[in-house]
């Protein structure tokens, strides 16, 4: 821990709780337009120093798409959209512009499996014709693959090159079919593991790892209850003994993961560059689409697309567009770039969520009163000084990670990230909001933060630099704010011990 963090630690933990509260959680179907195009709906974004043994010098970046997948959703399941562009962006100099972009493009190819029926060869209606165990398995009727283009200095600049397989040099990678069920794919974990590639990235001397495929949704939340005006007794969601009292409402859902594990030196601007990087994911569709009233035989032949890419999904820090941005601006946010985040500043300086919590829980007069909420602006849009603030930061929303802070083994990770660690007097500064790990309980952190914990921590001496108005007198709940939770424990979600970290997807049948 750096000296600056050490000095601020006792208060910073609480401060972070508050600061991140309004930003905490996930992004499933959060905006009106994106709810109509689930294949390009980003649900979660993670970025952390790898905590798998022997991989501590690498950074794992995960972008999840296609929310709330029911494992039995056949016969087509959840292929990625070949007419979409999925991107992961890295800003490594704090200027709110991407310096490195990984562009994922998908191809879904119909194998044309047919059976002889009464003397005729007739196409089958399913995506598999038997058991599946291998890459590009002959029993698959649809072959899913993807390429990854690397672009530097602006996502629409000319590409630097393609990510290639370290074994053989191919630039096309097979994607595993979704987990149809245990009869079709008896060993899905082993099958999926065959799709973890060692890859070479242009401009990077150290090979990386890459995986794209279905995973169990790693996000844990009491989703229905929260959106139903926080339909739970106040006594339950403020009792620390009940952090895991309820089941994870999306614990039976899958998602589709784009995951890369890249050496940290490949993400920095250069050897002497800033240790703090920012990351976010976007998805785009072509600006024009013509629908075919008479589609020919084939796969996804009902449309032809053209024009430039139009960004329709954006996700960096969790839950921003879900519970911070006003409904009328959610589509606008999804189309926006970090450099233009000034247009959304009112949602940060004057957030509505604390007032909504007052209404939902019938606890009037409990929202923090320090307006503008500079505590949230500072923490969320610039990163925390001494923790994850770039040296030359331009205020903007993205997930920021300090590459100089070492990872912490899973068992020692604090479920409340940096905040929880500081409150516990530990040594884990590798969690949210310094990046985000799968174990970090974003919802609980968010609830606490929303109700003003940051200003409680800032004290009467402006210890954390959030401004004199941000002090305990502006937080009617006082220390009670730190007891809020959603009664679902993120820390018990099943995960893998190493890359790609997210668990094997739930099978459609077993």
């Amino acid at each position: 821990m750096s000296h600056s963090i050490s000095r601020a630690a006792p208060l910073l933990g609480a401060a972070l709780l508050a600061a991140c509260g309004w930003a905490g959680a996930s992004s499933h179907r959060e905006a009106p337009f994106i709810a109509t195009v689930p294949k390009v709906d980003a649900t979660d974004f993670y970025m952390f120093r790898s905590y798998e043994a022997g991989r501590s010098d690498y950074v794992t970046v995960i972008a999840n798409y296609q929310p709330l997948q029911d494992a039995y959703g056949g016969p087509n399941y959840f292929q990625m959209d070949p007419n979409a562009l999925y991107e992961i962006h890295i800003d490594n100099n704090g200027d709110a512009k991407e310096d490195l972009t990984f562009q994922f493009r998908f191809q879904n190819k119909l194998a044309g499996v047919a059976l002889p029926i009464g003397g005729k060869s007739v196409a089958i209606p399913l995506i598999q014709a038997g058991q599946v165990a291998n890459v590009n398995d002959a029993n698959l009727n649809v072959g899913e693959s993807y390429t990854v283009t690397v672009v530097r200095n602006g996502r629409r600049a000319l590409p630097l090159g393609m990510v290639s397989n370290a074994n053989g040099g191919s630039t096309t990678f097979a994607k595993p079919v979704d987990n149809i069920g245990t009869k079709t794919i008896p060993d899905y974990a082993g099958y999926a593991a065959k799709h973890v590639y060692s890859v070479n990235i242009p401009g990077c001397t150290t090979p990386a790892k890459m995986f794209v495929g279905q995973r169990q949704d790693p996000f844990a939340v009491n989703l229905g209850t929260i959106f139903d005006l926080v339909n739970a007794p106040l006594a339950v969601i403020t009792n620390p003994a009940l952090i895991g009292a309820l089941p994870n409402t999306i614990g039976d859902k899958n998602t589709t993961t784009l995951a890369m594990e890249v050496h940290k030196s490949c993400l920095k601007k250069d050897e002497t560059g800033d240790d703090v990087i920012g990351g976010w994911t976007t998805a785009s569709l072509r600006q024009a689409r013509l629908l075919n009233g008479a589609p020919p035989s084939g796969l996804q032949t009902s449309e032809k697309v053209g024009g430039a890419w139009v960004q329709v999904s954006r996700l960096g820090m969790p839950l921003v567009n879900e519970v911070v941005i006003g409904l009328k601006d959610k589509d606008k946010f999804n189309a926006s770039k970090p450099g233009g985040d000034g247009q959304f500043i009112d949602y940060v300086t004057n957030p509505t969520l604390p007032a909504l919590i007052e209404i939902a829980l019938a606890i009037p007069g409990t929202a923090p009163t320090n307006f503008p909420r500079n505590d949230l602006v500072t923490t969320f849009l610039t990163g925390i000084k001494g923790l994850n603030q770039p040296k030359n930061v331009v205020a903007s929303e993205m997930l920021r990670l300090n590459l100089a802070i070492p990872p912490v083994a899973f068992a020692q990770q604090n479920r409340l990230g940096v905040v929880g660690n500081i409150l516990a007097g530990g040594s884990d500064n590798a969690g949210f909001p310094n990046g985000r790990r799968p174990k970090d309980d974003i919802v609980d952190i968010s609830l606490v933060a929303m109700m003003g914990g940051l200003c409680v921590a800032n004290g009467t001496t402006d210890a954390l630099g959030f401004g004199a108005a941000c002090n305990p007198s502006a937080v009617p709940l006082g220390a009670t704010a730190f007891s809020l939770h959603d009664a679902v424990d993120q820390a018990v979600v099943p995960l893998l011990p190493g890359f790609p970290y997210l668990n094997t997807p739930i099978p459609g049948a077993q």
Partner: protein
């Protein structure tokens, strides 16, 4: 002929002229397009302009896009619509 009747006859005559087109020859009726015109896909600008100008219809059949080859760009920013 009273003034009222004169006015009514004039109006009816005008309506009859309008209804008959002023002659016995039928008006030429432009045929509805059945496919996306080639001009719509000569550029991304043309495609977006064409798509933006398509009127919503409750009665028309979809246009054929069999021959359409929409242009794409990896570097352009979206056009305003």
């Amino acid at each position: 002929m009273s003034k009222t009747l004169t006015l009514a006859v004039s109006v009816i005559a005008g309506l009859m002229l309008a209804a008959c087109g002023g002659s016995n020859a039928p008006d030429p009726v432009a045929a509805e397009p059945t496919e996306v015109p080639a001009s719509a896909t000569v550029s991304a600008t043309a495609l977006v302009g064409y798509a933006a100008a398509l009127p919503a219809s409750e009665t028309l059949e979809p246009l054929s896009i069999e021959k359409a080859m929409p242009p794409t760009s990896e570097t352009d920013e979206p056009l305003p619509v």
